[in-house]
Amino acid sequence: MKYVDEFRDPAAARNLAASIRAEIHPDRDYRFMEFCGGHTHALCRFGLEDLLPGNIRMIHGPGCPVCVLPTGRLDMAISLALSHPDVILCTYGDLMRVPASKGDTLRGAKARGADIRMIYSPAQAVDIAAANPDRQVVFMAIGFETTTPPTAASILAAEAKRLTNFTVLCNHVLTPAAIDAIMTTADGATGAQLDGFIGPGNVSTIIGAEPYEAASETWHKPIVISGFEPNDLLQAILMLVRQVNRGETVVENAFARAVRPGGNTKAQDMCGRVFTIRNSFEWRGLGEIPGSALRLAPAYAAFDAEARFGIDYVSTPDHKACECAAILRGEKAPRECKVFATACTPEHPLGSCMVSPEGACAAHYLYGRFRKAPEPSPAAT
């Protein structure tokens, strides 16, 4: 496949892995967080950790949109879909199986009669609204900056079509705020002790490379933006190793074929028009983070499902045994959770990290479970 095979070339991978092995200092550890769930998935899917020397530790970050959505937001969606028979709730497939309070899921609510539909694009939700003028169509929007522009476009399309039955339950979150939240605890005694970040690929196509400059400067960490193919990741890891060895802490872009320094300004303008930054938003695992999420701008309040249906957010605690919070902060590895692969499996996830294949626990369960040796604690190495 053109534009993919080049980045999966095994010979190039061997060369990159050899360079990494040649350049690391054997007497120290390199602890890198890949922020993005897509990177976690690619690392596990291609077995890349087998190609890396033992003193490079990849720590999985919180960049899986499904994983960081707090239970209470899911409860809002389920309750909305069940209590308003005229509502058609549209959302992405990943969200259908995520456990809400009391083990409920959107899939379970659908089976009990709620009209919940899986869509691939928010544009489909607009089409459904246009085709069902007597129903209320609510798009349950989740994701980082990557999925925000399509949501903005759907709202603008609904406005252009003068649809009055289309609203968005907005859960869009912001990456730079999450990186800051992780770094505030990462250097503490129980923190993830990070030496650098692999910066998100898709997110950066929208926001560009510049927003990471501040984080890199504030926290003195190198950040290398990477694509999602295996050789992208190996290249980014090599660049991080070189920065660590040279004592540098700058932002580098190893995904220049897709990421421009200033990002996608058209998408940024569209989002700036439709959304405004929330004062604070709860993240699963990271807690309340100020200025870390979006809601509808006042001019587009008519498309805000929270206002239309008068629903309020109620924070709900996670399952007691679930370690998703520590895992999302990079403080624990999936295997260090007592319920990993016992009570918590992809069939019956207790925590959100087990649901999407991009979640750290699901990626380990699906791709890495055969490795017999338990992983040492990230904080202990």
Binding site: M1, V4, R8, P10, A13, R14, G38, H41, C44, R45, F46, G47, L48, E49, D50, L51, P65, V66, Y92, G93, D94, M96, R97, M118, I119, Y120, Q124, I142, G143, F144, T146, T147, N202, P230, P346, E347, S356, P357, E358, Y365, L366, Y367, G368, R369, F370
Partner: protein, 350 residues
């Protein structure tokens, strides 16, 4: 039997629609049989018009399989629910080593379903049955109210004969460490076609379903590799689920070499765009064979010399593993697990 005397007007197979009365068991049901099903499937057992068929089957042990078909969309590149309903059950028999002989078919139709579509499906079934050398000897039709079905569901039951040259029928439990894993061709074609054919997911890719009867291929394979232990058609859940089922049933593990897995380029590209893994998508004309190592080369040659096995490949081997894990050596040279399908193969959002 003279239709015209019993039935005032012929069913309008071009413009008419199925009504509840066609499943009520009365005159309209009889007319549907006489004017649509019997002409399409005609054979002595069916033509008697009784509720049951009396068959003579000689030559070995009887193998039975049943399979329900609910595919949406009903028509897709490379086939339709009719051909699928024949191939699905024929292949279940073939994976048991059997030579398929007869099918029965149960139709659940939704009120309002166009007769033109029904005729197209029935004709397709008849053609698929003729190609596979099976006769459709009995059947049933029910009609459910509008909104209570999805157009048409077809359940077929198949009867076949296990020839004497299979002292023990092939089975998933028979795989042993050291055995070689073969696939008969490219993986994920059918599942990708169905995903792409759905109205809400337009894709510009020349992909078609691989739906085909496999018993001829099985005969060729068995002749070359008489020790073949396991045959499995990787339908729902795809290659990944089928190989896990085999390991589970035999108490073994497997090591699969990812670069050896045959996958068409357009399928690979479509799956990349959709965020799904072709190893979890359905196939309707492919088989997995587990053979003793000494017969692996002969098995591969036999598969490759058959039109349905041109892209066959040796993709890995069965290993000892009490956890029954399937491991994959990735294109990058690393290792990962290939797990059972959990839930539906849903696309990832980013």
């Amino acid at each position: 039997m003279s239709d015209r005397r019993l039935f005032t007007r012929r069913i309008d197979l071009r413009k008419g629609h199925v009504e509840l009365v066609h499943g009520a068991g009365g005159k309209a049901s009889a007319q549907l049989f006489e004017e649509l099903f019997r002409p399409a499937f005609s054979n002595p057992a069916l033509d008697r018009g009784d509720d049951s068929a009396c068959l003579t089957m000689e030559g070995g042990r009887i193998v039975v399989a049943t399979d329900g078909h609910v595919v949406s969309p009903l028509f897709f590149p490379g086939g339709d629910i009719g051909s699928l309903a024949v191939h699905g059950t024929v292949n279940d028999l073939a994976m048991g080593g059997a030579t398929p002989r007869h099918l029965t078919a149960g139709f659940i139709l939704e009120e309002g379903f166009p007769f033109s579509d029904l005729k197209r499906i029935v004709d397709s079934m008849a053609a698929a049955a003729a190609e596979a050398g099976v006769t459709i000897v009995a059947g049933d039709t029910k009609v459910v109210e509008r909104g209570k079905g999805d157009g048409i569901f077809i359940t077929t039951t198949g009867l076949g004969i296990l020839p004497a040259d299979w002292p023990e029928p092939p089975g998933a439990h028979r795989a042993r460490p050291g055995d070689v894993i073969l696939v008969s061709g490219t993986l994920g074609d059918h599942g990708t076609t169905i995903l792409a054919a759905r109205d809400d997911l337009p894709l510009m890719a020349p992909i078609e379903s691989d739906t085909a009867p496999l018993h001829g291929l099985v005969s060729a394979l068995h002749a070359a590799a008489p020790g073949v232990r396991t045959l499995r058609d990787p339908t729902r859940g795809g290659f990944a689920t089928a190989i896990n089922e085999i390991c589970r049933a035999s108490g073994t593990g497997a090591l699969v070499r990812e670069p050896a897995l045959p996958i068409r380029r357009p399928v690979e590209a479509a799956c990349e765009i959709l965020g799904v893994d072709p190893l979890y998508l359905a196939n309707e004309g492919k088989l997995i064979a587990i053979v003793p190592p000494a017969e692996a080369d002969a098995a591969l040659a036999a598969l490759k010399s058959h039109p349905l096995g041109a892209d066959a490949a040796i993709v890995g081997e069965i290993v000892a593993d009490e956890d029954c894990f399937v491991q994959v050596e990735t294109v990058m040279g690393g290792r990962r697990m290939l797990d059972w399908l959990v839930g539906d193969p849903l696309p990832r959002i980013c």
